[in-house]
Subunit: 759 residues, 2 copies
Amino acid sequence: MKANTTQIGRSMPRLEARAKVTGNTEYTHHLKLPGMLYGKIFRSTVAHGRIRSIDVSAARALEGVHSVITGQDILALVPEPYFGPAFLDQPVLALEKVRYVGEAVAVVLASDPHVAESAVQLIDAQYDELPAVFDEIEAMTSEAIVHDVLKPSGTFPDLKHLVGRKNTNIALDYHLKHGNAEKAFAEADHVFEHTFKTQQVMHTPLEPMVSAAEPGDQRLTIYTASQSPSFVRLEIARLLGWQESQVRVKVAHLGGGFGAKLYIKLEALVAVLALLTRRPVKIALTMEEQFYTITKHPTTFRIKSGVNKDGRIIARRCDVWWNGGAYADIGPRVTQKSGFTSGGPYDIENIDIESFALYTNRPPSGALRGFGIPQLVWAYESHTDIIARELGMDTLAIRRKNILREGRPQATGTPMRSAEIELVLERVAARMKWDQPFDRGSGTIRRGRGLAIGYKAVVAPTTSTAMVTIAADGSCILAMSTVDMGQGSDTTMAQIVAEIMDIPAERVRVLNPDTDVTPYDMATLGSRSTYHMGNAVKLASEDARDKLLAMAMDLDLPPETTPVPELFRRKYGMQAGTVVGFGSFVPPYAPPDKTNGQSENITPFWMIGGTGVELAVDTETGHVRIERMINVVDCGTPLNPAIVETQLSGAAIMQIGFSMQEKMELDAGQVTNASFADYKIPGFHDIPPVFENEMVDAHQPGAPFGAKGVGESATFSVSPAIANAIHDAIGLRLTELPMTPESVYRALRILQNKPVEDE
Amino acid sequence: MKANTTQIGRSMPRLEARAKVTGNTEYTHHLKLPGMLYGKIFRSTVAHGRIRSIDVSAARALEGVHSVITGQDILALVPEPYFGPAFLDQPVLALEKVRYVGEAVAVVLASDPHVAESAVQLIDAQYDELPAVFDEIEAMTSEAIVHDVLKPSGTFPDLKHLVGRKNTNIALDYHLKHGNAEKAFAEADHVFEHTFKTQQVMHTPLEPMVSAAEPGDQRLTIYTASQSPSFVRLEIARLLGWQESQVRVKVAHLGGGFGAKLYIKLEALVAVLALLTRRPVKIALTMEEQFYTITKHPTTFRIKSGVNKDGRIIARRCDVWWNGGAYADIGPRVTQKSGFTSGGPYDIENIDIESFALYTNRPPSGALRGFGIPQLVWAYESHTDIIARELGMDTLAIRRKNILREGRPQATGTPMRSAEIELVLERVAARMKWDQPFDRGSGTIRRGRGLAIGYKAVVAPTTSTAMVTIAADGSCILAMSTVDMGQGSDTTMAQIVAEIMDIPAERVRVLNPDTDVTPYDMATLGSRSTYHMGNAVKLASEDARDKLLAMAMDLDLPPETTPVPELFRRKYGMQAGTVVGFGSFVPPYAPPDKTNGQSENITPFWMIGGTGVELAVDTETGHVRIERMINVVDCGTPLNPAIVETQLSGAAIMQIGFSMQEKMELDAGQVTNASFADYKIPGFHDIPPVFENEMVDAHQPGAPFGAKGVGESATFSVSPAIANAIHDAIGLRLTELPMTPESVYRALRILQNKPVEDE
């Protein structure tokens, strides 16, 4: 590495910014293909039932309708039409049973989408209703069984033991044991136990999901707003029994993803429809339909801690129930991969974790910015606050006492390395001026402050590969399958190429993902791209640069100073040729022990996020006004500080929405507020007037130029920091999200009449 | 290399065959882009003139017209809007002058192409006419000067000496000298001199030229039916002053190219129009317009030989004038690269070659299947036949006596290696049963037979690069910029990949050229792809295979027997990952000496083609019926014999058209037969009823699996073999193409009244 970087640490504008503001950006929604049919989906109106009949005759008869396809029609093409990243449980269209209200049952195809939409209204399906279960705790013991038999996919060998399990809604039970928690509880001075809940929310990408498929000669091209083109190729090929090279997946820019656009969403459906009709088929969801497609897990988290008088936590037990909805999607991985941090960033000798992924009759849950971590931090950081108050300690002081320090083993046994937990905590405290007096308000406006800290491992082990092509004039093309969905990955990756090639990043062109063209990447998720793809891009750039140096040496030209055009002219006799560098990266990883979950190296890096909040509560209305929010993260050394800033703000605002206002309301499984009129995401007035971000001074070893991912870190601690501040303001402990004015007001009323147990 | 190949030498059906017959093949003509404007071209009606005025007001006023663009409008965007592969002489639209009838002067743009077409009729241009020159010999001395000053491009350093030359129509004068021809002529027993002429013809690809350009944010994507995507990118970037990575060139399948779709044709025009209008712009030519775009050089070839009594040729002088038309295109390279074989495949101690590329006021001439060789063979093989008859020798015997044999120096001094000239000649003779009696017909139907042999070097040095990507299931994707225009390159290259990777070729997917994706290739021309790209593809495949082997060894798996999916699972923990192999190939080459044109290695390989013909002439009508044609070539070891067969048939039939019927008729520079109604290409009835192809048993060292190019070889000798057979039948020597019934009839009448000199 050069001593002085010119492209790294540069807050350059995004490469695609100009195209976005001038309307030149390519989105899948713009795509029109000759002869294309539009599909509109007919959805289940019952939460759980056997399909008795589907009458599509009136829809088929409507003028302009090309065809109506049901699950039965698909069987002729795909005998086992089930997909999923962890479990092969989800049918392309419902077969025999429906498992949630909103499940896709049939599709109308027409050249005019409005005709298709009208025809959907003419379909009549009859169901024999079955008992349904919606709550994750009830699902543990309910007689309503969502899936007759568990069908883990072959993708993850560690799910093999679940194959064929029957009569259960538990899709995965994850256990981690470190030390002897039961013994330590018996010895502890105090034992605290609380239960926290989170609600079902949705990703609300402003670009709703959209996929199209174009049939070719023994080929299929899928155009999709997906975060995981490589997975889509693999899974569609598997589903069709084809080879990977017969399936091409092309991804344009995304208008947000947040985990909603991972794995298979509409891709299997459009693929099958295109092959059945031999026509290009496109399906674009409405905002409403997104609520029936993928959501964030509701959770129940029962947390129990054994604490000594001095505030030292010596034992912790975590029981977490993840409400996965009707189809597993990546839920079992959330249960497992986030499971092992359930105990929080604390140095606790004795820890027991049990984490359950549950099927229910809700819309499916998957990954949503944070991969389960915000649900966990919500619980353990509210719990920490309660313990401190119960012990009469300062909430910062109890954290300082218990925090996981460099080199100490995390619950899995993996020693913490390059995780600036303490520094993040101290920077939050310093910015909050925690040791100084605080204006607590008066009358009906009471002020409080709170803080919280969370951490996350990255999904491991995963692979990224990249390719850098140098043209004869020295400009570069970067081919990678990382999806730029607004997070700025095209720009930061171009900066890595530029740094290595010693050119301005503006001379690097980044290709949109296209599985025929851009090499394999696991997916754009879980803040993994900067580290994993960044490393692959760096290796590819170095490979290309080394080839140029070797070429210069072959030609007896000075390797460091010969301009690329001159080099190519000398090599090829004219301005011609291409040099290609390739990089492949898989981080070191030690799989956890099957019996106790222990691992020497459970993650290539840790993400740390801390939040400080000052707020005012109107005790007459329950309205909470966040006056100041501070988010501090360890993201290593930022590649592009301006982009990190917007990632931090975006993540925190999103989590403010989930903390304060968003909740999918269900009535017998039917989402009753599936629109932006009823389901309110944060607007400009919900953003705290003082809103600060900080990246602590850090450097991640093994990372490209010391940088690691940051897309999720500012989501971790937002909810408990707010809850802790509310408690600080009015002595009210909220244990369930969202903390709406109504819920604050109601709780306050209960509190004022008869105090709840934990106060 | 494995001892036994399974994929090489396999006459597998073409990979794209099914897509073509089912209508699934992608062609640029199908392309529609949102907001696209169609351009229609207003063309010059005078052959040479200064533009006095262009009145576009009526066209602009027509309802539905978006805009009308002239050369002056382009100057605002591109101050020097001239392009060309050898000379920067061709304006995007005419500026100040027009130089041929049909030259593009203005473009009307409209959303409806029919509106654009109507508006073109409303444009009125006035010219001050200048003297014009159409004949290549007259152009040598004419006072009509087509270009005021010569502007060779920087691409070819060997044209530098021409920069700034004025008052000449000679775009290139090429000289080659070997031995002392003048002295040898004086000593020879006989001296023969004849002059032969060829006519202007057109490539007539059944898919007419089409290009579209789509403006992006500081980017431009060009969709074009081009044989040279890498060149288009480079030249458009140069023209705009952009970097290469800002220009993307995408090529679909081509419906024939034959050299017509090389370099810049419509690409500069659509690029500029798209940038001026900020709209996608498409221009698709009609068949008629192709006649005004690029053609084959008319030539005059004066050939003189000094021959001893025994038939040994001891001296030869060749003077060749190439009629390049108004813009040089690649004409100067034809003059030079084909020039050095003007003396034929004969072992002649003393040889002088002079070859001139000339500007005239005809539509431009470029490369057409054979790159000038058929014009040369026409002359030297007719000449050889005349010499044999004059000396009373058998025409086969004189060739046997003089032929260039293995290791003997060619005119440039390069020793002939792996050039099966003799074997090709002998196989033609054997198939013709040359030593056996022949039915000569009777009455008004006279039969004759003839043979001829020609050879060609390949353009050198040029570069090809390729990339092979292996998916986790072992299927492969080949990324290369070779354009499949019907010659089957996708299939043969896939066979090379498959052979190295030890999989069926059907598991290889070949990407269409796309300069963002498929690495550099010089162009698809001159039968260079099998050898150059074949080598690059082989190197890329070997690189990929070696990486797999290394991966297996790293993992302690048996390298030869571990299946790819297993290897990837072990490496990446799941079915994931990509392995990419890269190959770059530039053949060895010795540039010719500047003073005498001598070189030790002028070409990486030689192509040889011989033709035998039996025909009948109707002396009452002049109609020539080719009853049997045999084409024998040395193409090394064929990769896919079925594809070679169709290449040979196609090339020979095309040359039959140029020999017997095709000719662009000009009246004051105006092509008067620019339609398939008037300009007849061969139909089924023109194909000889007995039509045989043979590939001699050969192996090209340094070539992929011994294979070399074959797209042109069967064009070389067709014309003189027919002419020699006509002479054999009726004693009539034709020296000018085409040999239409009318020309035969007229010549026969002249012959019957007063015999011409050489009979």
